[in-house]
Amino acid sequence: MKKHLAPRKRYLLIHVALVALLSLFAMPSLYADDAAATTQSQTESKSSRMWDGLLDSMKTVTNPFSEVSVRDAGVKPRIRPHLHGGSGWNSNANVGEKDSGTNSKAGWQARISPGVTLEVPVSEKMYTMLDYTYSFSTTQGPDISENENTHNLGALVRYDYSKDTSLGVNNNFQISDMPNQAGKRFLLETVKPEIQHTFGEKLRSALNYQFQHYRDVGPTDDSDSSTITRDTFNDNSVTGSLTYDVACKLSLTPQFSWHVREYPKTDEKSYWSISPDLGAVYGLGSKTKLTGHFGWGYRRFKDEGNASELLYGAGINHMLGRKFTWAFNYDKTQQDTFDTGFINRDTPIATNLDNYDRHFRTLNVHRFGTTTSYFLNEKNLFSLFGDFSFVQTKESDNIVSSDENDEKKMEIGGMYSYKLTRFLDLRLGYTFGRSFYAGSTSNTARTQYTYHKVDAGVNLNF
């Protein structure tokens, strides 16, 4: 016992000494203004002057919970509690289940997700942010009962090294329950440092590295071991890009990505890849932006074989007046079975469009998405959205059963949001989802489905 206490005391002393040492650095700035007063009032005790100085300095510290003035916004520390809640009815709440069959299970879905964000701009050049968000979602119906918990921790540090150079790191850590597997959790850690530099007026560069670690609890209770894939992976990627403003309204961005993903428990899916790409942005007037890219993705699998695909996409973003925005995007991408892109979205739960089974080492996905928003005024927002996804697979990329799984899915819907106060808004939405064709029923992420969902929610954000 004594052996444990001694080091603990030593560390406590180190902590106290560390805080005291750091506090010494703060003292000169706290008492700098009191220098003249010290010479005039010799009778004051040192301790009383220290307390006065400390109290004066405390007055300059902003209350981090208070609403800040426009001049303090973005430059003073702030704590922002936030709460997102919603509930709705889904006519087919089990669309994510592989063996759901043709029997749809209607149910009520609800989600509540409180969190807090700490924003600390340390200096004019450095900005830091830390966010924790917890989410609980539940689905309850006559034939279905599911609960999921998610913890999400995000952090950002950004530093302006000079007028032309900025660098930053963001980190995201999530622990979440596996859907349909109560008590089993996965974790995903993503860290992404980036540096950007501007050369003159027309050339910008960006270099980023990303590391991901996904720990998969795996389907341990599956009786047929031949269908089990364990998707724990480590992922490293480096991407570099140069953006050149060819003309006032046209910029070109050549980009190169190098990527390695290792699956220690399912080696057949491990690969490295390269992806050169050329992107362009063209401003068609001040209200319309056209984007496009064309490139090549090459994957070399550790086991054997490779995948080579042309990758391309196009998009348009248009504003009609100041109130109406419309965006349309199309992309052909090369994806992994488990697309981790959802983790950094506004909502840390994937959508139905992002689910595939795990049997494939690569998927080719064509995706069309469109969004329309009409800001009637600062209180009323109407929006419509639609997403269509066409998945193409090859038999040779199925590491379990050597058959294809070409899924075609869609979601369309509308939403109305009303801002009750500066901090509180309410919303009402409807969504229709459908799977057009789910391929062979022996090897699908889901059977075909159709669902209608009506939901209402509240968003509280300080």
Partner: protein, 141 residues
């Protein structure tokens, strides 16, 4: 022990951030560049995490454009910010615009209005309302 040390270091760092924060001040004034203004605006509504970690002014401009915040004549990263530039984001009556142009504190008042406008749009966007989500099926089974 390492965890304790880490905790103390974090607490100390945040305490210092609050104490030293008076050093943090943005040059919010007429004549600042539109690029600086775009980054300030994104910080002011707490949306920095939506940009790439090493984001530059162009990233901030792209984010604002996607939310429909585009001034008359489009963004010019090196262009200057003045009252007329801020008015171009807002739907103001001619009388109100004229009064703010003459008001010595008009620049701050316009800054506040533009920030409010972005906050209202960003709050709506951060709900993820443009994409439906399901309680089940987050990860392939």
């Amino acid at each position: 022990m390492k965890r304790n040390l880490l905790t103390v270091l974090l607490v100390t760092l945040f305490a210092f951030a609050f104490i030293l924060n008076p050093l943090a001040h943005a040059e919010l004034k007429e004549g600042m560049s539109q690029g600086e203004f775009a980054i300030w605006l994104v910080k002011a509504v707490g949306a920095m995490y939506k940009l790439p970690p090493g984001a530059n002014a162009q990233d901030a401009v792209d984010f604002l454009t996607n939310l429909g915040l585009v001034p008359d004549g489009d963004w010019q990263v090196d262009g200057i910010v003045d009252k007329q530039f801020l008015i171009s984001f807002l739907n103001l009556s001619q009388e109100e615009a004229d009064a703010l142009l003459k008001d010595p504190e008009g620049f701050d008042k316009l800054l506040a209005k533009v920030r409010e406008l972005l906050q209202s749009r960003f709050d709506d966007a951060r709900q993820g309302v443009f994409r439906v989500q399901s309680a089940s099926g987050s990860v392939p089974a």
